[in-house]
C-alpha cells in the first residue's frame, strides 16, 4: 500500500537526533509490549508480515505522531482483535470474559507448545529447497511500477527504476500474500543495486547506490542495457527493445559472482 510508512526519499523530517547512552527500553510498558508481541509471533498467533501490515494500517497522522512501541501496541491490539483472540470489551476491562480455551483448541494455540517457549521456526521465512531462479547476478532488471492497496515490500522510490541483480538470496515467503493470510507463494529474493542518479535524478552524481532486496514478483527484465554502450549517439535508438535472446546473451557476459 502507498502508505506513510514508505519513507525512503521523503523530505522535511529534519536532522537525525541521537540520544547519548540510550537505554534499550525507555519505560516498563515498552518492555512488556515488546515481549508480548514477540511471544505471540513465536506462538504463530500471527506472522511478521501481518504484524508489519497492522502497523502500516495505522491512520497516517497517528503513525507519524506515535513512538515506536506505541506502533507495536497498536499492532498487538488490532491483531488480537482481528484473530478473534480477544474481544473489544475484554481489551477495555483487562479481564477475560470466558475461561481460557483448552490447549490445542483455541485461537491462541498456533501449534507452538507451552507459553514459555519461543518457537524460533516461526520466524524462519527462507525455504531450504530452492527452484530455478529467473535472474542471476549481473542481470539488468526494472522494478515494476506496482501500486497495490495491500501490503508490499517494494518501496515507492524504486518502482519503475532500473537496477542490476547483485545477489540471489534464496527462496523466501512472499510478504504481499503472507501478510493477508493468502499463502506463502515462495519465490527468489534478489539484492538489486540501483544507482543514486537512477533513483533521484541526473543531478545526483555522487558515487552511491541503494542495495534493495526484491522478490521475483517485483521485477522484470530490462529491455536494454544503456550502460553497456560506451557512447550513445541516439538515445531514442538505444532505448529500443532488443530481441530477448540477444539480451540474455549480453547479460550472460556481464559480471558474475558474489563479490563483497
Amino acid at each position: 500500500m502507498n502508505g506513510v510508512h514508505d519513507l525512503g526519499g521523503m523530505h522535511g523530517f529534519g536532522p537525525v537526533i541521537r540520544e547519548p547512552n540510550e537505554p534499550v527500553f525507555h519505560s516498563e510498558w515498552e518492555q512488556r509490549v515488546f515481549a508480548m508481541a514477540l511471544t505471540a509471533m513465536g506462538r504463530r498467533v500471527w506472522n511478521v508480515d501481518e504484524f508489519r501490515r497492522a502497523i502500516e494500517c495505522m491512520p497516517p497522522a497517528r503513525y507519524l505522531a506515535a513512538t515506536y512501541y506505541e506502533k507495536w501496541l497498536h499492532a498487538l491490539e488490532s491483531l488480537l482483535l482481528e484473530k478473534g483472540a480477544v474481544t473489544p470489551e475484554e481489551l477495555l476491562s483487562g479481564h477475560a470474559a470466558a475461561p481460557a480455551p483448552a490447549k490445542g483448541t483455541g485461537p491462541l494455540d498456533g501449534g507452538g507448545g507451552d507459553v514459555e517457549s519461543f518457537d524460533s521456526s516461526a520466524v524462519k521465512l527462507r525455504f531450504d529447497k530452492s527452484f530455478k531462479p529467473r535472474f542471476k547476478p549481473g542481470d539488468r532488471v526494472v522494478a515494476r511500477n506496482l501500486n497495490p492497496k495491500h501490503h508490499t515490500r517494494l518501496p515507492r522510490y524504486a518502482r519503475g527504476k532500473r537496477g542490476v541483480i547483485r545477489y540471489d538470496q534464496g527462496v523466501f515467503i512472499f510478504p504481499d500474500t503472507h501478510a493477508h493470510g493468502q499463502g506463502a507463494k515462495p519465490q527468489h529474493v534478489y539484492t538489486v543495486a540501483f544507482e543514486a542518479k537512477e533513483l533521484w535524478g541526473a543531478d545526483h552524481k555522487e558515487r552511491a547506490s541503494v542495495y534493495l532486496d526484491c522478490w521475483d514478483n517485483y521485477l522484470e527484465r530490462a529491455a536494454v542495457m544503456p550502460a553497456a554502450r560506451p557512447a550513445i549517439k541516439s538515445a531514442g535508438r538505444a532505448r529500443m527493445a532488443k530481441p530477448a535472446a540477444k539480451v540474455r546473451a549480453a547479460a550472460g557476459r556481464a559480471k558474475k559472482g558474489r563479490k563483497r
Binding site: 525512503g8 536532522p15 537525525v16 515481549a35 477495555l92 481460557a100 520466524v123 515490500r153 522510490y157 541503494v210
Partner: protein
C-alpha cells in the same frame, strides 16, 4: 523527540495503563506468562547487544578461516561464537567496507535490524528522519554523524526482505598489536550499521587509561 524521553517525571501515561490491562488479559487467556516475558526482556536488555557483533568482527579481523566462513554463511558463523540466530538473525549477510566502498544499513519501510548481533535498534535508527534520508542523502547524513568517507562509493542496504545486514568495518590502522579482545573494544555499534567508524587504537588506549585512574 523529547516527549519520548520524559517518562521519568510524567504521571503514568495512557499506554502504560493499556499495556497493564492487556498483559493481565493475556495472562488470563493463557497466551503469555509474565515470568517468560521477564526473561525475554532480560535477554534483550542484558544478553543480546552490539558486544555480540563486535566479537564477530574482531574474530573475522584476526582469523582468516573464520572470516571466510562468515562470508559464506554468516548466521552459522555467528552461532559458532555462541550467538544463536533467534528472531531477526536467521538470514544474515556480512558486507565489508574496503578502501573503495562504504556500506550503510537502513530499513525505510519499518525497522529491520540484525538483533542477534546488534540487539534492538536505537530510536534514531527507527526514526522517520533516518529512514527518509539514508537512501537519498547518505553522504549528507554521514557528514552530520561526523563520518567522512571521502570519495568512496557508498552502498546503502535497504533491509526490505528478511535478510539482515551487518557491516564489517575496516580494521583501524595501528591496531596490529591488539588482541582479539582488545580489537572488539574498537568495534562500535554504529560502525556495524555503517553510520560510524571503529575507534582508533589510540582512542581506546586513552579510554583505558582514564578508566584505570
Amino acid at each position: 523527540m523529547s516527549e519520548e524521553h520524559d517518562h521519568h517525571n510524567a504521571p503514568p501515561s495512557e499506554p502504560a495503563q493499556r499495556v497493564k490491562a492487556l498483559e493481565q488479559l493475556l495472562v488470563e487467556k493463557g497466551l503469555v506468562n509474565s515470568q517468560a516475558l521477564d526473561e525475554l526482556i532480560d535477554t534483550y536488555e542484558r544478553r543480546i547487544g552490539p558486544r555480540n557483533g563486535a566479537r564477530v568482527i574482531a574474530r573475522a579481523w584476526t582469523d582468516p578461516e573464520y572470516r571466510k566462513r562468515l562470508f559464506e554463511n554468516a548466521a552459522k558463523a555467528i552461532e559458532e561464537l555462541g550467538f544463536p540466530p533467534g528472531p531477526q538473525g536467521e538470514h544474515m549477510m556480512v558486507v565489508e567496507n574496503t578502501p573503495r566502498t562504504h556500506n550503510m544499513v537502513v530499513c525505510t519501510l519499518c525497522s529491520c535490524y540484525p538483533w542477534s548481533v546488534l540487539g534492538l535498534p536505537p530510536v534514531w535508527y527507527k526514526s522517520t528522519a533516518y529512514r527518509a534520508r539514508a537512501v537519498s542523502d547518505p553522504r549528507g547524513l554521514l557528514s552530520e554523524f561526523g563520518v567522512d568517507v571521502g570519495g568512496k562509493e557508498i552502498r546503502v542496504w535497504d533491509s526490505s526482505s528478511e535478510m539482515r545486514y551487518l557491516v564489517m568495518p575496516e580494521r583501524p590502522a595501528g591496531s596490529e598489536s591488539l588482541s582479539e579482545d582488545e580489537l572488539a573494544e574498537l568495534v562500535t555499534r554504529d560502525s556495524m550499521i555503517g553510520t560510524g567508524l571503529p575507534k582508533s587504537a589510540a582512542r581506546r588506549a586513552r579510554e583505558t587509561n582514564r578508566a584505570a585512574k
